[in-house]
């Protein structure tokens, strides 16, 4: 049905994260960490934009057959990203008053150029 293997999907995700990172850096953000893991889960990208700490989730899709990348981030996921942001700060001994959760949606079809959309401050 999907016609893809787990390895292919993993590769697509990694590709999306690289595209997203380039996009955000080009937009003037500073990457602090990538694929940071703890027992609670993983943050795709941790960045800084001015004085704001940005916890960024990257969603990559090769088609919209299974909904938009945006729709994949529900309430539970959003809560987890917020908690992970706190965990990241604790692990690095910093306290940042302004934390934001961003979403980068990458649509990378089989052919043609990728489409990147950066949504600031979801939830």
């Amino acid at each position: 049905m999907t016609g893809t293997t787990a390895a292919q999907r993993h590769a697509l995700g990694e590709m999306g994260e690289r595209i997203a990172e380039q996009h955000l850096v080009a937009a003037g953000m500073v990457v602090l960490d990538r694929n940071w893991r703890c027992s609670a889960g993983e943050i795709d990208l941790v960045l800084r934009e001015g004085h704001v700490l940005v916890v960024c989730e990257v969603k990559t899709r090769s088609s919209l057959d299974h909904g938009t990348p945006h729709e994949a981030v529900g309430d539970a996921k959003l809560d987890r990203l917020r908690r992970l942001g706190t965990a990241w700060q604790a692990a690095h001994g910093v306290t940042v008053p302004d934390v934001r959760v961003d979403l980068v949606a990458v649509l990378r079809p089989r052919r043609g150029p990728s489409v990147v959309e950066h949504v600031r401050g979801i939830g």
Binding site: G67, T68, P69, H70, E71, V73, G74, D75, L78, L103, A105, E117, V119, R120, G121, I122, G123
Partner: protein, 528 residues
């Protein structure tokens, strides 16, 4: 534009509130939030809207955060007819539909997943409410277009699908769509119902002179009536002929009644506005909700409201459940009915003539004369029945008539043809005109609806007549309420006799009508 507003109507009984459906579409966590006290039906609207939009070939802003606000925010909104307003509002906020045509426009309709519209109940009161709030254009499902068009100065768009609505708003050519099925509660039987009543006439009733007179007075003044008598004495035949004696509805009555039928989902839009007084005869098994109104979710009008401005006939009324009979007190007295709910109370019009009928006992054979009585009921059952038949509801009736089975001496004169409904109706209409003239600027138009204090102060009885009533009251034969009712009936008798005010004869006639005493021949006199 990221924010847009459309308008819908929320119904609270027969009262419609204009509701602003405001939508914001902006970046953020994707999804739709509906705020502003929706009920469970309305909460499902976003799911229906989304699929309807997608399946209509339009774009749903799936990557955006959509916030839909229904305001006024304190009002509970219920029903499925908000779908169209929500869908159009979202599309306009996302830029798929221009905002300008939404001005002074209301949207009413339920959507299906394939983007077609579905018929909804209550379109007429919704559009009426919208018109009062300055709405000039309304989009409704096609089956409701005729109903909506009954509202003057309203531009009505009867639509079949969301795609058609969007095309109309964009000023494009309206695409084809399958026709919308009428209300789900369509009549399955070609039942003749009220048509049958059209064929009945007072000329079918032989004899019964004093009942004929009582019915005429009741029709002329809008008085409640109690018919009591053994089975087969013609109580139902008399009651069924009363609507035929009533004039056509006034414009406001017609609107109120049509709105009530629209709310109940029983309006036949092809028949247009209702102009004839309705007749409703619920069975004595009827529940309180069916008679008074209620039900879960949206309030459905009961039989008392469906008989508004017409006749509500309760045959064998002592057999109705006691809570149902008790609940009838308010509409009998005030002409409207209030249904109290957890969070709201709904008032519906219920100003019909109530005609009660009862037997002398449960089996209907009891007579005072024990020897000729063929009654099989236990004495206690007879006592219980008669107690209920004379309870507080019966006290709220203006005119009481005792019918009796025909006897040998009653055989009518073959040469005399009883008067027809049409000629009685002419007198009733004239009497009603006199009342309308007299009450001019007041909020009521018929004697039966005139408040007691106003009557006593401005339209008093002659001193002798008032003394007669006072004697009855202090003698315990008549309650205070009963005296007020006699007062009203006396005015109606005077109106039928083309008198400028009632004299002692009219008061005596009214008293007889109220107490159920037989009328003297002189009392039956009518103007020709």
């Amino acid at each position: 534009m990221a924010v847009s507003t459309t308008r819908a109507v929320s119904l609270n009984g027969a009262v419609g509130h204009l509701v602003d459906v405001q939508t914001d579409v902006s970046p953020g966590q994707a999804g739709l939030t509906l705020v502003g006290r929706p009920d469970s039906m309305l909460n499902e609207a976003p799911d229906r809207c989304r699929m309807a939009v997608v399946n209509s070939g339009l774009t749903w802003p799936a990557t955006k955060r959509i916030t839909v606000l229904l305001s006024p925010a304190d009002l509970v909104k219920r029903g499925t007819h908000f779908d169209l307003a929500v869908a159009v509002s979202v599309l306009a906020a996302d830029g798929s539909v221009p905002v300008e045509p939404l001005e002074a426009t209301a949207f009413i309709g339920e959507l299906t997943l394939d983007g077609n519209l579905r018929a909804v109940a209550g379109a007429l009161p919704m559009v009426l409410a919208a018109a009062e709030r300055g709405i000039r254009r309304v989009f409704v499902p096609e089956p409701q277009a005729r109903e909506a068009a009954m509202v003057p100065d309203m531009e009505v768009f009867g639509m079949r699908s969301l795609a058609q609505v969007v095309a109309e708003l964009r000023g494009e050519e309206v695409p084809e769509a399958p026709p919308v099925a009428p209300m789900s509660g369509a009549r399955l039987l070609s039942w003749r119902g009220e048509d049958r009543l059209e064929e009945t006439d007072m000329s079918d009733l032989l004899g019964m002179e004093d009942v004929r007179f009582a019915v005429e007075v009741a029709a002329a003044g809008g008085h409640h009536l109690l018919l009591s008598g053994p089975k087969g004495s013609g109580k139902t035949s008399v009651a069924e002929r009363i609507p035929g004696l009533l004039p056509d509805l006034t414009r406001s009555e017609s609107l109120e009644l049509t709105a009530v039928h629209s709310l109940a989902g029983i309006l036949d839009p092809s028949a247009g506005m209702l102009v004839r007084p309705p007749f409703s005869a619920p069975h004595h098994d009827a529940s309180k909700a069916s008679l008074i109104g209620g039900g879960s979710g949206a309030v459905r009008p009961g039989e008392v409201s469906r008989a508004h401005a017409g006749v509500l006939f309760l045959d064998e009324f002592p057999l109705f459940r006691s809570d149902v009979i008790e609940a009838l007190r308010q509409p009998l007295e005030s002409g409207d009915v209030t249904i109290a709910r957890q969070e709201e109370s709904v008032t519906l019009p219920a100003r019909g003539m109530v005609v009660l009928a009862c037997n002398p006992c449960p089996c209907g054979e009891w007579t005072k004369d024990q020897r000729s009585s063929r009654c099989q009921c236990a004495p206690r059952a007879v006592r219980d029945y008669q107690m209920r038949a004379t309870g507080p509801v019966a006290d709220r009736v203006d005119i009481v008539r005792n019918l009796r089975a025909l006897r040998r001496g009653d055989r009518p004169d073959p040469l005399s043809v009883p008067e027809s409904s049409a000629s009685i109706r002419a007198r009733v209409e004239e009497a009603r005109l006199r009342q309308a003239d007299r009450f001019g600027r007041e909020s009521w138009r018929l004697n039966a609806h005139a408040p007691g204090p106003a009557l006593r102060e401005r339209w008093p009885l002659p001193p002798r007549g008032q003394r007669l009533l006072d004697d009855q009251v202090y003698g315990g034969a008549l309650s205070r309420r009963g005296a007020t009712r006699v007062h009203r009936v006396a005015w109606t008798v005077a109106d039928l006799r083309r008198l400028s005010s009632p004299g002692i004869a009219e008061v005596e006639t009214a008293l007889c009508l109220r107490t159920g005493d037989p009328l003297l021949v002189a009392m039956l006199e009518r103007v020709s």
